[in-house]
């Protein structure tokens, strides 16, 4: 760990906190349909969408109507992405003449982008035409993120309102999230990325002659290097902002044409958490008590900082097996040092550890270094951040509604301990709420662990492993942890583009997105009906430091109890082996 490394982490975290209030307040205005400075630009577009799609923006819907809208919207989007991949060879904007994607891979990818996961069994530059990337991936990057934000807005209204029935209108929240929040930021970020060197064109790949010819694996002489091109920057901007994470190129944000400089790295990394952090403030604003939002942000931030230091420290130490070989892993003014396998020199160990922690804390899943090559403890951090249920920031929208479910559990357990009726922001927490909350918390570990178990006992599962020993098990655990939490990053050595992984992974992604979003809406539908209970002596305050630590404890205990045995078999054993 270096002073300069620490400085970079500090600036990052500070910027996140500073921006939470202005951006959060702006997003609250968007969800509450108040005037914003973007109205002159996007107001006409918004009204046009409502007119064509026959949406009445003033129509309020109950939780079931909203759930149906959310599911149908996702289903139609999923079909479009599937069809584009299967038919891309007949469609325009395919200068490399890439063929149809296989049915199982197309299914996996369509689910992956519709569910805001962006798990990628394929390599972008060798698989997807520019048209598929634009109409399939880029569109879903916007609308799957906006869908998550819309579900959050509906959920927040369930908490903010009392003795009501309706939660708002999914179509309106989704449309406004896209137009007023995601779109303007994406345009600005994309152009900044291009100014630094991210590519943005529709040209065929470029051939460059190598300065020194080389040979391929068969011994044949190679004199040219073909450089992949495409409309990358526009897709990268929204993949980060929308916590999607799917790379335009196979190496994702490690690729120099996706992430050319330390500045783009900082901005891309910042975009991963920016909206999720600010939504905490939005929540506080919409429930009429900003302290409630700050306390959630504090809980998330504390977990993030601890995880970050564990990862940074582990990666800085490097690989002990290298020490005997006369390799210099010490960080100095001229040498980034540390565990550099799978990392880029321009980012070094500090930025790679920061990115890895941030991308798994959020359900983003883009990478600027290969997680498969991290030290066991660095890899453990990424696994744990996902296994906490993607509630430490998490996906835009989905992370916060996940955390709010943990808040309800925390309030309930605290109520049991002191023998008081649990309540949260004026809502009595009763049997129905707890049933939904338990469902929400149990589905994910069940999906992840059962599918991991299935993979390790089947030939189809173990055949894809690329690293020997416990690391091979970690690869499988990571794959289902990532897909079962809509993250999308990978221990990419695992060959996941097989029918077995495409189908089981697709199921994991479907379950973790929709089986969680629907009970979440049901929970909101139940909360909104409750009569307001005024604050009394017996009310547990949910904005105090005490509650923040209580909430952290609940999140960690649930996560640890579910996954400790599995982690012991993977990264923990590997760490002990490495230290021998």
């Amino acid at each position: 760990m270096t002073t300069n490394g620490m400085l970079q982490l500090f600036v990052y975290l500070a910027a996140l906190v500073v921006l939470a209030k202005p951006l959060g307040a702006f997003m609250a205005r968007v969800f509450q349909r108040e005037k914003t400075f973007l109205d002159p630009l996007f107001g006409p577009v918004e009204r046009l969408i409502y007119r064509f799609a026959k949406i009445n923006p003033d129509e309020e819907m109950d939780w079931k109507q909203n759930a149906v809208a959310f599911l149908l919207f996702n289903f139609v989007g999923l079909i479009v992405v599937y069809a584009l991949q299967r038919l891309q060879q007949f469609l325009p904007l395919n200068p490399q003449g890439l063929g149809a994607v296989s049915p199982d891979s197309s299914f996996n990818t369509a689910v992956s982008f519709a569910t805001n996961t962006n798990w990628q069994g394929y390599g972008g530059e060798t698989t997807m035409s520019y048209l598929t990337q634009m109409l399939g991936m880029t569109v879903q990057n916007f609308v799957s993120a906006a869908g998550g934000m819309a579900v959050l807005a509906l959920f927040i209204r369930g908490i903010a309102r009392h003795s009501g029935k309706t939660l708002g209108n999914f179509w309106v929240d989704m449309t406004r999230s896209t137009l007023y929040i995601l779109m303007p930021m994406a345009v600005v970020l994309a152009l900044v990325l291009v100014s630094q060197g991210s590519v943005q064109n529709l040209s065929p790949y470029v051939s460059a002659s190598l300065l020194q010819p080389t040979a391929d694996t068969s011994g044949a002489k190679v004199t040219e290097q073909v450089i992949a091109m495409g409309p990358a920057a526009s897709q990268i901007a929204i993949k980060q902002l929308g916590t999607n994470g799917g790379g335009f190129f196979n190496a994702n944000s490690a690729h120099p044409l996706e992430n050319p400089t330390p500045l783009t790295d900082f901005l891309e990394m910042f975009s991963i958490l920016m909206i999720a952090a600010a939504l905490c403030y939005t929540f506080g604003k919409m429930v009429g008590d900003t302290r409630q939002g700050w306390s959630l942000l504090a809980a998330m931030m504390i977990i993030l900082v601890v995880a970050l230091f564990v990862a940074y420290q582990a990666e800085s130490r490097g690989n002990p097996k290298f020490n005997a070989l006369g390799i210099d892993q010490f960080a100095s003014a001229v040498n980034p040092g540390g565990n550099m396998e799978g990392k880029e020199v321009r980012f070094g160990v500090a930025n790679s550890s920061l990115w890895a922690t941030v991308t798994t804390a959020a359900s983003n899943g883009s990478v600027n270094a290969m997680h498969d090559s991290f030290t066991p403890m660095g890899g453990l951090v990424t696994l744990v951040m996902m296994q906490l249920g993607e509630v430490v920031f998490g996906g835009v929208g989905s992370g916060l509604y996940g955390m709010l479910v943990f808040v309800i559990v925390a309030v309930f357990v605290a109520g049991l301990l002191v023998g008081r009726t649990p309540e949260y922001l004026g809502h009595k927490i009763e049997a129905y709420e707890m049933k939904m909350a338990s469902l929400l918390i149990l589905i994910m570990p069940l999906t992840v662990l059962l599918l991991t178990a299935l993979a390790v006992v089947s030939q189809a599962g173990t055949g894809s492993i690329s690293n020997p020993g416990p690391h091979g098990f970690s690869e499988i655990l990571y794959a289902f942890t990532s897909q079962g939490n809509n993250n999308g990053s990978a221990f990419a050595g695992l060959n996941a583009n097989t029918p077995f992984y495409n189908i089981t992974g697709g199921l994991a992604m479907l379950i973790s997105r929709y089986w969680l979003a629907v009970p979440t809406l049901a929970l909101a539908g139940s909360l909104v009906r409750k009569k307001l209970i005024p604050v009394s002596e017996g009310t547990l305050p949910t904005h105090t430091p005490l509650f923040v630590f209580w909430l952290i404890a609940v999140v960690l205990i649930v996560g640890a109890l579910n996954f400790f045995p599995a982690l012991a078999l993977g990264p923990i054993v590997e760490h002990l082996m490495m230290m021998q």
Partner: protein
């Protein structure tokens, strides 16, 4: 409710495909091509109208007269910019250690007099397999070898390394680094001007 919502879903997807899938990327492409044409098209390096690489994409070097880049795990050859990938070797994978040992052997064989410890980035593969940079330490490690083979003064080669070093951005972001392709092009350049004289 179901039928009406289905129709709304289909129409909204169509509209958002148009707005976020066509208009948005085309506007960004248009502005990018006008304002940053060079960057938007891959920061290509050209010589006599021929593309000889990209500033942002590394190339493989094994000749002792050139500075070597990092290892690359792309296939079927190193630094294949049409198929980016890392090695994805775990820290205990024997293939990782074998690769590092092979690299150390090659480096030592190319310069038997140099017994300094080898900077770690020079014996590891990057995440993209296309890393255009090495650390300043990795470049300095190779200076004497390159100077000797090219019959150049060590100081001259060292100052070329400095010229091709990019510092931390805004003073604190990222790591200092040396662009290998640009450095090697600069080396060939002084060599050919000298021969022309």
């Amino acid at each position: 409710m179901f039928l009406k919502s289905t129709r709304t879903a289909i129409i909204t997807i169509a509209l958002f495909t148009l707005i976020t899938g066509v208009i948005y990327p085309l506007i960004v492409t248009g502005v990018a091509q006008v304002v940053f044409p060079e960057k938007a098209n891959g920061s290509l390096l050209k010589k006599d109208g021929r593309v000889i690489g990209s500033e942002l994409i590394g190339q493989p070097f094994s000749d002792s007269k050139y500075f070597w880049s990092r290892l690359s795990a792309t296939s079927p050859f190193a630094y294949n910019a049409a198929s980016s990938t890392g090695s994805n070797y775990g820290p205990l994978n024997p293939a990782l250690l074998d690769g590092a040992k092979k690299r150390i052997q090659d480096l030592r064989a190319a310069d038997t007099s140099n017994m300094q410890p080898i900077p770690v980035d020079l014996v590891t593969a990057s995440g993209s397999g296309l890393d255009p940079h090495v650390s300043v330490a990795a470049a300095l490690y190779q200076v004497k070898r390159v100077a000797r083979i090219r019959n150049l003064a060590v100081e001259q080669v060292r100052s070329l390394v400095e010229e091709n070093t990019e510092g931390r951005q805004l003073g604190f972001l990222g790591e200092p680094r040396v662009n290998v392709l640009k450095l090697n092009l600069a080396l060939d350049n002084i060599q050919s001007t000298r021969e022309a004289k």
